[in-house]
């Protein structure tokens, strides 16, 4: 396998993995913008999506329904977290709320272990496993699903934030909560919608990603770390930045593992991220005032 084909493969895998990081990063961003919280339970929404996907497809439901139900399920879990744990504490300091999300993350992971057991569970790919060859790189049909669904999700969110009243109200609330309240925006409802969207997008990432990886109760935390890195890399609070940051992280990781050494896969990624932050503390796309919103 010549080097350029290898690089094509690293890029293809990197973009696919990056898309998942991007969706998780975007989930972080939406919640951060609508509540000011860094939600450490973000990865658990992905896990819930993946687990529900495995369960529903195991029941023999048709694929669109599996994806829809898993996405909705994760959104519901997110709304539940907001209603039961975040909202009652809305006057507490942000730090307390972040602790609550850490507790929630443990609770979700632990509950999933009780429900689905400790083992990894495989899931059938959406449309077969025969890879397609592009420029020497083997691309699984599932990879195309992941990239395609990510594009659809990001586009829909973009349209929602730019062109609907609710979306614009959310951006207003993100940019200045007090001013938004003064003009009659219910910021508490906006926070709930934020959690719902964030849960949905992470759940979607989980269900489209499950066939490539395995679903397991412990899959959430590593993804939360990667997604958070992606969000930081792109500039926390910047939606487009989160997507770019996630994809850059995925590509970087695979190039590092492939071209340098797989022993230093994670280390190289983190070092690059630190360097970016030293040089540009606001992240790749961050400005001084990020303007919030997507």
């Amino acid at each position: 396998m010549p080097l350029q084909e290898q690089i094509a493969q690293f890029l293809a895998t990197g973009v696919t993995e990056g898309c998942v990081y991007a969706l998780v990063a975007l989930g972080f961003t939406i919640i951060f913008n609508s509540t000011g919280i860094v939600n450490f339970a973000q990865g658990e929404f992905v896990m819930v999506g993946a687990m529900l996907g495995v369960t529903f497809s195991g029941l023999g439901l048709p694929l669109p329904l599996v994806v829809l139900l898993s996405t909705l399920g994760a959104a519901l879990v997110a709304v539940g977290l907001e209603r039961l744990a975040i909202r009652p504490l809305r006057d507490a300091p942000i730090l307390i709320l972040i602790f609550v999300t850490i507790a929630a993350s443990l609770a979700f992971g632990g509950s999933a272990k009780l429900i689905w057991g400790p083992n990894a569970i495989p899931m059938e790919p959406f449309s077969g496993g025969t890879p397609i060859r592009v420029a020497g790189a083997a691309i699984r049909p599932q990879d195309l699903w992941i990239v395609g669904m990510s594009i659809v999700a990001v586009t829909l969110l973009q349209l929602f934030f730019k062109h609907t009243l609710t979306g614009r109200a959310m951006r207003a609330a993100a940019s200045n909560r007090i001013a938004a309240r003064l003009v009659g925006i219910n910021t508490s409802t906006m926070a709930m919608i934020g959690f719902a969207l964030s849960g949905a997008i992470s759940g979607l990432a989980g269900v489209v990603f499950a066939p490539n990886k395995f679903a397991s109760y412990s899959m959430g935390t590593p993804l939360a770390v990667k997604g958070f890195c992606g969000a930081i890399l792109g500039g926390l609070g910047n939606g487009i930045g989160a997507v770019v940051g996630g994809i850059v992280l995925g590509v970087l990781e695979n190039l590092a593992a492939g071209l340098v050494s797989s022993n230093y896969k994670d280390a190289i990624t983190l070092v690059v991220m630190l360097l970016v932050l030293f040089v540009r503390p606001t992240g790749l796309l961050g400005k001084k005032d990020t303007g919030r919103g997507l």
């Binding site: 895998t13 504490l89 507790a103 496993g129 890879p131 990886k213 593992a257």
Partner: protein, 409 residues
């Protein structure tokens, strides 16, 4: 209720949920020892204080596919031995601790077993990293340990109080070299999980392959939690090896098999005996077919010839285990079988439960026919097995098949 009190209640409730979820079910932690189980046969009721045997297995966490059958086996055997009169006329009580696949948890469990439960000896833990975490503890406390993990560092160099029952990676790599030589394969790539098990196997590969005149063209690693090895497999493909050796325990090796299939790397994939359980086939799916590995005779028990010395033990354990659990027999459960019986035989031979006497009796074990092989411990060899403990198995149509003939064809 005022908002503040509500808030407090909520925080407490959340914490409780988190704690509950984070902790294993109590049933997994406290003893489920057979001491409480009433033996069915009335003829030989064991009496007196129970002999306490500690067991540490990875009942939950990533290594749960190993720990679960081990726990089940240990409990089943305690039940059996007690209904047959116990050991030294006393009942045997197995105290099973779950290390959650974490070395730190294993260390805590070992200290607890030694200091609080005052066990005679410990069997387990399930994996090399968890075993290495308690080796020093057992050495210092002078408590015999019979590990169910295969990493070479456990018994090489020999430690006075530490024994192991699985075939080590030293003899596994030697067995793999037999295959490579028979197939005239001279260029090999390796990929291993970056933990104690994988690194120990990799060390053997690096030492033994060049000595056998086989070139190791590249070595890649992956993390225990990694779920995509495309980058590593791509690198391997770039070096055009004639075979790939993968060293790890699930789920990583299953991902390697799947990624190799996706990338069209169509060379023999030789796995270590760390994946010799049904979970590997389930996870790797279609990609599992054609995978070969040196494994103990247990997973191909039904195909073993009737005149094989191990046949009787294998069939007996397979029948009992399936009757008890409703699941097919499992290599790792077999390790618990071997460890438990070697220990009980040693206690019987020692005639008492003094740690030093039991240790000496374990070391004197000769030609014990177990599930992994025929054990003969010596002061220089605390693993007690040879290459003969392995047979080649191949996955055909999602099932283990004996493939000893393949090497000669």
């Amino acid at each position: 209720m005022c908002p503040k009190a509500k808030l407090l209640v909520l925080i407490v409730a959340l914490l409780v949920v988190a704690l509950l979820a984070g902790c294993p079910k109590p049933a997994e932690q406290v003893d489920e020892g057979a001491g409480q189980i009433h033996p069915e046969g009335p003829q030989l009721e064991p009496t007196g204080d129970p002999i306490k045997i500690g067991a540490i297995f990875s009942v939950t966490g990533p290594s749960a596919p190993l720990g679960e059958p081990e726990k089940l086996t240990a409990e089943m055997l305690a039940e059996q031995i007690n209904s047959a009169g116990g050991v030294l006329g006393r009942p045997v009580e197995v105290i099973v601790k779950d290390d959650k696949s974490e070395p730190t948890e294993a260390a805590l469990a070992a200290k607890d077993l030694i200091n609080t439960e005052k066990v005679v000896a410990i069997i387990g833990p399930s994996t090399t990293p968890t075993t290495m975490a308690i080796v020093d503890i057992c050495e210092q406390a002078n408590i015999p340990l019979i590990s169910c993990a295969a990493g070479a560092p456990i018994t090489n160099p020999v430690k006075k109080w530490v024994f192991a029952v699985p075939q080590t990676d030293i003899i596994a790599v030697a067995k793999i070299i037999d295959y490579l030589k028979a197939k005239k394969i001279t260029k090999v790539a390796s990929i291993y999980v970056s933990n104690g098990y994988g690194e120990s196997g990799q060390k053997q590969i690096e030492e033994q392959l060049p000595a056998a005149g086989i070139e190791l063209v590249t070595s890649e690693s992956f993390g225990g939690e990694d779920t995509d090895m495309t980058a590593q497999v791509t690198r391997i493909k770039g070096k055009n090896p004639e075979a790939v050796i993968c060293w790890g325990t699930n789920p990583g090796p299953a991902t390697v098999a799947r990624n190799m299939q996706t990338l069209g790397l169509d060379v023999p994939l030789l796995q270590s005996h760390g994946v010799a359980n049904a979970k590997f086939i389930e996870l790797a799916g279609d990609a599992a077919n054609g995978v070969m590995l040196p494994a103990g005779r247990l997973i191909v028990e039904s195909e073993i010839a009737a005149d094989d010395k191990q046949k009787e033990v294998l069939s007996r354990y397979a029948t009992d285990y399936t009757a008890k659990s409703g699941k097919p027999v499992d290599t790792f459960g077999g390790h618990a079988f071997d460890a438990f019986h070697i220990l009980c035989d040693a206690i019987a031979a020692a005639g008492n439960t003094e740690a030093a006497a039991v240790r000496d009796a374990i070391e004197a074990t000769k030609e014990f026919v177990g599930t992994a092989g025929i054990f003969t411990y010596t002061p220089e060899d605390h693993n007690g097995l040879t290459k003969d403990a392995f047979v080649w198995v191949k996955i055909v149509d999602g099932k283990w098949k004996l493939a000893e003939d393949e090497i000669n064809s």
